[in-house]
């Protein structure tokens, strides 16, 4: 028995966003959502994810104005670089596919 079909309202937004934005099979559609934008958004959501109510009150970019969060966040910079590398790889892969 499974209650999979139950509505997801009771589930935390954080858990839902983590999965639908960050997991799931990636198929490049015709509507090119800039993967970099999406990935950066995902990072923002990851940071925000446990305090979405707070985020909603303050606007999604509120941490950018909080020096204790934005100053020297090397993890984020590193992740950013890793993501850019991954995007470049994916783009190369998808252009290879298109050539075939």
């Amino acid at each position: 028995m499974t209650d999979l079909a139950a509505r997801n309202e009771a589930l935390g937004l954080a858990d839902v966003l983590e999965r639908v934005l960050d997991k799931g099979l990636v198929i490049a559609g015709d509507v090119r959502v800039n993967l970099l934008d999406i990935e950066l958004l995902t990072i923002k959501i990851r940071l925000l994810v446990a305090s979405v109510d707070k985020a909603r009150e303050m606007g999604i970019d509120w941490w950018e104005h909080d020096p204790s969060l934005s100053a020297g966040d090397r993890d984020l910079d590193e992740e950013n670089r890793a993501l850019r590398r991954r995007v470049a790889e994916l783009e190369r892969a998808s252009s290879r596919q298109e050539q075939r």
Binding site: A5, L25, L47
Partner: protein, 257 residues
Amino acid sequence: MTATYLYAITHELTDSDIGDLRGVGGTAVRVLHGDRMSCLVSTVDLTEFGEDALRNNLEDLAWLERTAREHDDVVRAGAALTATVPLRLATICLDDESARQRLNEFGEAARHALAKIDGHDEWGVKLFADRAASDPDPAEPVVVSGTAYLRQRRASMLLRERSAGRMLRVAEEIFECLAVLATDARRHRPHDRRLTGDDRPMVLNAAFLVDRKRLATFRSAVDVLVGTDCDVSVDVTGPWPAYSFVPEPALQQDAET
């Protein structure tokens, strides 16, 4: 202008299986038939789901929440019926023909993934280091000056980090034990504590692909493992569609070549 929004790849389904299912923006969900598999789709308007519109909408938390839950609802409906591979939010093709083409490009990888997750659900297990264990000195710091306050904050932070190290090892052991009972397991990045507003650090954020027949064993293992360590508390979510157990992009390519 309209386009085809893709939710999930499933074992073969028919429109009557899904009934009156609604997707993003209340659009009617249909079954698109591929090669020995199906895809749940709906027709969306490009004024909301075109490239420019999406760039703005994805930054709008209210829109994002609504759309994410609607997307998840459809994936769940699929997973309740048959093996279902969730697609990432906002996978959009210009029409059904293009969607079918993409679908068939993933044919072998998708069928492989469907076979793997058939009869399974994803379960989320988060572990938190309890405050009592993570903060040996819960007393409010006496504020003498700004510098003293910062020094005190730093000292208590260091203590917390040190005991968090032990918690991470406990979390790792629990993860390894549960992984044995699951068909597959993934570690996700713990949600950030600076923004949780919760002093308890999240020491594990994991997903397990659990055979429905072994669910009872898995659940009781969670209780036993967490119960033996009074310093951690657990948050279990599920069943989820198998979001965390779809092929990685690199593996998709391998499967195609």
